[in-house]
Symmetry: C2
Subunit: 268 residues, 2 copies
Amino acid sequence: MLVNGKPGNLISIGDRGLLYGDGVFRTLRATQGKVQHWPLHYQKIKHDCTALGIACPEMDLLSAELNDLLALHPNGVMKVIVTRGEGTRGYTPRGCAEATHLWDRSPLPEYPSDWATHGIKARLCQLRLSHQPRLAGVKHLNRLENVLAAGEWNIADSGIAEGLLLDMEGNIIEGTRSNLFLVSQGTLITPDLSRCGVAGVQRDRVMAWAQYNMPLQVRDVGWDEVLHAEELFVVNSIIGLWPIRELEQRCWNDFPVASKIRGYLNEP
Amino acid sequence: MLVNGKPGNLISIGDRGLLYGDGVFRTLRATQGKVQHWPLHYQKIKHDCTALGIACPEMDLLSAELNDLLALHPNGVMKVIVTRGEGTRGYTPRGCAEATHLWDRSPLPEYPSDWATHGIKARLCQLRLSHQPRLAGVKHLNRLENVLAAGEWNIADSGIAEGLLLDMEGNIIEGTRSNLFLVSQGTLITPDLSRCGVAGVQRDRVMAWAQYNMPLQVRDVGWDEVLHAEELFVVNSIIGLWPIRELEQRCWNDFPVASKIRGYLNEP
């Protein structure tokens, strides 16, 4: 655990990350002292900081800190947070001295191994995502919608591994902590994230894979189209790729495209 | 400064207030060792905690802490934050041990005294508020919209004291840090906050005043209606009441209703 480069797990109560959720974050999967695609993650952090007008720490600085952490903890979930730091009282982002950056680490979660191969049970959340083009795609610290959605079910009771989210207009957007893809008539489809949602690194990687392997559409997708897709799968940097085998009374058994992409994502 | 009842100004980087903005807050104005309408503020905190499913600390506990702070600092802005505390990794709000509650204090801001009597210059913000009925009215820690809006202008250059916010459909909702009222044809009007916005204690107090003094409408209000209002004013617990004297090329000079309400709000 590092706060502004120093070992520690405390932050000032005057930090705007706490006061307003005024910051961004990413979670990385570390195994055997290595993190996959760190440069892509850094690119996203930098992009998201720019969207909020936060001066992002340099890549060299964050890379060095990550390496120090990996030397101590070769395996785990590494979370990096960058906030606007401390400022004067009030919402104005002017007059903040320096961004705060910090690293936290948790043990790698242990998921049933057949979730990746045979798929997960998913559900449709009741909460609808709001439209805010100024924040869409950005992995910022205002995550109450995700919290409320994740509170709708209990994995222990239901075996449900992920919830899918519609926006206010009924378009499917993403999972509570993952991006969603559909396979339909030989095309890979992923929801447009220009009005809401979080654009993850794994989503970019799947889209990059499609460039050489399969037609890709990034567009609005209705719920009906989800239920009639040939394959559905969710991705994020911690879970990798999970096909969906069960969703609101619909079932899927065969995931040829998802399996191929999973193989690609797992390559070092 | 108190964190969970103990003197200090640090919080764990694992607190969900920082990680997700998973909490609520209120700011109170303390003068001469007294805070106006603390029971109303507590009621709001409790309501907002309930909206998020956070177990709110008891009033006796927060009151005792506030009194301790007031004994040390009779004047200032007292901010109270309640977060869901620390939990397991991930968005799910289940399995959190205990809410975190903390107090921070800043000096009272010094505003030009004629803002309260002769009115402020205000502007219309470009940022549009998104609709999220599940969070509307709640003063939660997901405040990036307010931050982005407050970043649109510089008070030092422009003399603009507050920015007004429309929602995505063009209804006026509030100020970046205040609630808005209009006076039109003998009626007091304030925007409906069931889809977005923050319902402040001062807004409730103005609405309570209206019950005995003036017809009140709580409803959708378009921008055109704002520009043609006879009086406009904004309220919050720190500033009290400011009439608006200038807004996007329109000017107002006379504030008979606002002055009456300001007198009422300032009563001890």
